[in-house]
């Protein structure tokens, strides 16, 4: 048995790999970024007082299990370049992508200056900040090596050597990307001080334990959450991202645990939740310092006092209101990932108009006879729980498929 290739090491990919290994099926994970765990690995635990099921322990708990099994091979900082059908199997070419070795990086910033596509971002780390290569670097190393040339520490790695894999089945788990809030200019992300995305807020809490640094070293007194940024309309996805209501309310609950007098305002369209989040909804409705405004803000500008100021209108009156906050958090949604499109192209499978993988009649299978599967949020927005379940479902399908080959 040659095993299964899993593209992507996010929640769904990790879950699929663990379930396959439990069944004794060898698998290989190819991950584009230098880190395993996907989007969920950058989030912060929101259970200040007690567990609120925010999912985040997921990446700390599941990723290490990949190493425990001897059946999982992990290739990071690499991507799938070619997929060919060969005598009932797949011949897969894996090429290295560029990455930055965190141990050697001294955060001098030279690479960020010279990088033509600005594909290097700064991540705060335990040792001090370090830089990472995002997946948006489009050039092969032969075409652009400016970062390699400029680095005095030799920290730019070009990944493990290119290799070729022979596999029986492929599971695509490329997941989603977070919406780039800069695409919605009105909301002033990157332009107005104190406007951050939900993802920024989570990683800030994760690294520094609070949001004080963003508010100039003081704890914020008032926080606004703008819902549906990048979801339910252009720019962004036309779909509902499903997770934002949940994570922003849990984040708000966690902020409340720090400061019982913090003024929290939600600008929202609908309050969408699963049945399990009823207690959180009840909290949201009963909290005296929490305001729910049904309005989509027109724009966010820098106020005269340097704080971000939100302009909005309510259905009840005709005037435009403006209100300043210490901090504005944009609840960004999920977008189908660009690598999903490339992979769909090289596999020759159709995607939905929104850019998600579609199941043709049979959930989770593009064309089940050929051993091509997909799981997780590359088939539509999913929360972590659904990704975990989806991963183990597809693992069962893939292992049944492998048995049918014998």
């Amino acid at each position: 048995m040659r095993g299964v290739l899993i593209i992507g090491s996010g929640t769904a990919g990790t879950s699929a790999a663990i379930s396959l290994a439990d069944r004794g099926v060898p698998c290989t994970i190819v991950e584009r970024s230098p880190r395993l765990g996907g989007l969920a690995s950058g989030l912060a635990c929101k259970g200040r007082v007690q567990c609120v099921n925010c999912d985040v322990c997921m990446s700390t708990e599941r990723v290490p299990r990949l190493f425990r099994s001897g059946l999982i091979r992990i290739i990071t900082s690499s991507e799938v370049s070619t997929i060919e059908r060969d005598r009932g199997m797949y011949r897969v070419g894996v090429v290295p992508c560029r990455s930055i070795d965190p141990m050697s990086c001294n955060d001098c910033g030279d690479c960020s200056v010279v990088c033509p596509p600005k594909a290097i971002e700064v991540l705060p780390g335990k040792k001090g900040s370090w830089r990472v290569m995002t997946s948006s670097c489009p050039f092969p190393i032969e075409e652009c090596a400016s970062c390699v040339d400029v680095c005095s520490q030799d920290a730019i790695r070009t990944g493990q050597a290119a290799c070729e894999l022979m596999v029986d089945a492929i599971i695509v788990a490329v997941g989603n990307e977070a919406f780039d809030a800069k695409m919605d200019h009105r909301l002033g992300y990157g332009l107005v001080n104190g406007v951050i995305t939900g993802l920024d807020a989570e990683s800030e809490v994760n690294q520094n334990g609070s949001l004080d640094r963003i508010c100039g070293g003081r704890p914020p007194k008032s926080v606004a959450f703008i819902q549906c940024v990048g979801s339910r309309g252009r720019p962004g996805s036309e779909q509902c991202s499903k997770v934002c209501c949940k994570y922003s309310m849990k984040l708000a609950q966690s902020l409340r645990a720090w400061d019982p007098n913090l003024e929290i305002t939600f600008f929202m369209m609908d309050w969408r939740r699963y049945a399990a989040e009823d207690s959180i909804v009840a909290w949201g409705l009963s909290d005296p310092h929490l305001t729910l405004l049904r309005s989509r803000p027109a724009e966010i500008v820098s106020g005269s006092d340097g704080r971000p100021s939100v302009r909005y209108a309510l259905a009840t009156d005709d005037t435009v209101a403006e209100k300043g906050f210490d901090l504005v958090i944009l609840s960004i949604g999920l977008m189908p990932s660009a690598s999903g499109r490339e992979i769909a192209g090289s596999l020759g499978v159709r995607q939905s108009p929104q850019g998600y993988f579609m199941s043709e009649g049979n959930p989770g299978r593009m064309t089940d006879a050929k051993g091509l599967f997909f799981c997780g949020s590359c088939a539509g927005p999913k929360d972590i729980e659904e990704c975990v379940m989806d991963g183990s479902i597809i693992a069962a399908k893939a292992s049944t498929y492998l048995e049918s080959l014998k």
Partner: protein, 548 residues
């Protein structure tokens, strides 16, 4: 009753060959607060310690390799890792130790990182020394715990009444397992209008025909009790006053929602349910001019059961397509249109369906509804020739399952999962899984998805090697006076009186809680790794005066 899992012959406490101590500086997080060299000197002074190594970042490859080499070179049979709190790392150390030929039972961890984070420098050092001293003493007294492999049964019990039970059974049958369905309701509901992928009619019979004996369904039956462990559960269930016994490898609780009538149905004249409306749509009946869908309820059940605006969105769109001139209004507090459904919601709006948000149930006033709009606060009058109301979705039967299977209930009356996020379908009992709406009200694709996930998890558990044991209780047959105290005390029914008239512990059932050991009047029971002498020595070591 289950076959008893017998422990192997008493594992003697062997004198340690040698202890390896590995102290991690954790990138400075530990070495900044603690004098690591002093700890090293202290550990090396112990006669049992063979090797002490101070490294940085123990959990990463270069250091890990160094530790492995030293383990293989020296005369070492047990290992103490002094360092971090990351839940991740222990597994990697255990794996590394196993590959170096050290039994996982003999690996101990001392968490200095949390100590460093939580204590000032002056307190941290003596505390760290105390912890290390205790760990070395403890390590020297560890013994290999009993573990045995058991043969699992290839049959699975599915407790369920609807589509998720059928989906789970189908997946299990595909994996080559046998399935017994115990259904508390009168018949298995093959599809429900809320599941996105309904089964075609007659699918159940076809399935039963295809697999023959491997699939049994017992309607109007109830599980009474369950005993045993993963791979080997003995269940007793009753049907029509008769009780039956069966041996199964695992259990899937796949309870689905049942519709219960919304009181609004009788309040509004001529109101029908969404299900009835769907039938009308399918039959292409002529629709009246003014249709109002109310996705609200007024008692506490409405709060618990998510009103399916999903149905309202799709049915209103469909109806508008059939009768473009009709006026369709949907009244609801929120429009729950997740994912792709949002596109349908937008399309329905574009087609001219009106959505009114209201926090309270509208009033019926001669031929129309008066609804309070939450945006503007105004009362809006909506003419209504036909009112469509959504029924409540409720999950019954969790209470009796909880009692029979010893699964705790949550405050909402659902069955509790161990960790809803990382193990969304698992209970605290290995081999017992929850799906459908057993653990939370699940609509849409949720029940089918969780059913498949539960079946997949259980099948992979039953297919792999099943090992029971670990830190379990053990009875000293000489001292046992057969007083039955342990038998009465144990919440897991692990002790029983054996053939020789003395107490015996089923190591498959034993959870190592130590209640029997504490209760035994003859002091005949000890728990592996937590024996009295171990605990006493540990306490004594921890309380020793600090050496200056």
């Amino acid at each position: 009753m289950t076959e008893r899992a017998k422990p192997p012959a008493h594992a003697a406490i062997v004198a340690p060959k040698g202890i390896g101590v590995f102290i991690c500086s954790c990138g400075g997080a530990i070495s900044r607060k603690l004098d690591v060299q002093r700890l090293r000197g202290m550990a090396a002074a112990d006669p049992n310690v063979r090797d002490v190594l101070c490294t940085d970042r123990c959990c990463e490859e270069p250091a890990m390799g160094k530790i492995k080499l030293s383990l293989m070179a020296g005369d070492i049979d047990r290992l103490i890792v002094v360092g971090c709190s990351v839940r991740a790392a222990p597994e990697r150390f255990v794996q590394m130790a196993e590959s170096a030929g050290i039994c996982p039972d003999l690996v101990t961890f001392t968490n200095l990182l949390d100590l460093c984070a939580g204590h000032p420098k002056a307190e941290a050092q003596p505390n760290a020394e105390r912890m290390l001293r205790t760990a070395i003493k403890r390590s020297a007294m560890l013994q290999v715990t009993p573990r045995i492999d058991v043969d699992g049964s290839g049959t699975v019990l599915v407790i369920g009444n609807g589509p998720s039970a059928i989906t789970a059974s189908r997946c299990l049958l595909d994996e080559g397992l046998s399935v017994i369905v115990v259904n508390p309701a009168q018949r298995l509901e093959e599809s429900d209008h809320q599941s996105v992928i309904p089964l075609e009619g007659g699918a159940l019979e076809q399935m039963a025909k295809a697999v023959g004996d491997r699939f049994q369904v017992h309607d109007s039956a109830e599980v009474l009790s369950i005993r045993g462990h993963l791979g080997n559960y003995a269940i007793i269930w009753v049907k029509g006053g008769e009780s039956w016994k069966e041996k199964v490898g695992g259990v899937i609780v796949a309870l689905d929602v049942v519709e219960s009538e919304n009181p609004l149905l009788s309040r509004f004249p001529g109101a029908i349910t969404q299900e009835e409306f769907e039938t009308k749509l399918k039959a292409l009946e002529k629709l009246p001019r003014n249709i109002v869908m109310v996705a609200l309820g007024e008692d506490e059940r409405a709060e618990r059961s998510p009103m399916s605006t999903h149905d309202a969105v799709h049915h209103s769109m469909h109806a508008k397509g059939l009768a473009p001139s009709s006026m369709i209004t949907v009244i609801s507090r929120e429009i729950n249109a997740f994912g792709q459904c949002e596109v349908g919601y937008r399309k329905a709006q574009e087609m001219g369906v009106r959505f009114i948000r209201s926090g309270s149930v509208p009033n019926y006033v001669d031929g129309g509804l008066v609804v309070k709009d939450i945006h503007s606060g105004f009362d809006i009058r909506v003419p209504a020739d036909l009112i469509v109301v959504d029924n409540y979705a409720e999950c019954f039967g969790t209470r009796s399952v909880a009692k029979a299977l010893h699964i705790p209930l949550t405050s909402d009356g659902n069955l509790a999962r161990t960790n809803p996020k990382s193990r969304p379908v698992a209970t605290h009992l290995p081999g017992i899984f929850l799906c459908g709406s057993a653990s939370e009200l699940n609509l849409g694709a949720g029940p089918t998805m969780s059913a498949k996930a539960a079946a997949s998890r259980l099948a992979s558990l039953l297919r792999s090697r099943i090992t029971v044991g670990g830190n379990v209780a053990e009875v000293d047959q000489e001292r046992c006076s057969s007083c039955l105290t342990c038998v009465r005390t144990c919440p897991y029914h692990a002790p029983s009186i054996g053939k020789e008239g003395k107490a015996e512990i089923d190591i498959g059932l034993c959870q190592g809680c130590g209640m029997c050991a504490a209760a035994c009047p003859s002091k005949a029971i000890q728990v592996y790794s937590y024996r009295d002498d171990q605990i006493v020595t540990e306490i004594a070591t921890a309380l020793e005066e600090d050496e200056q």
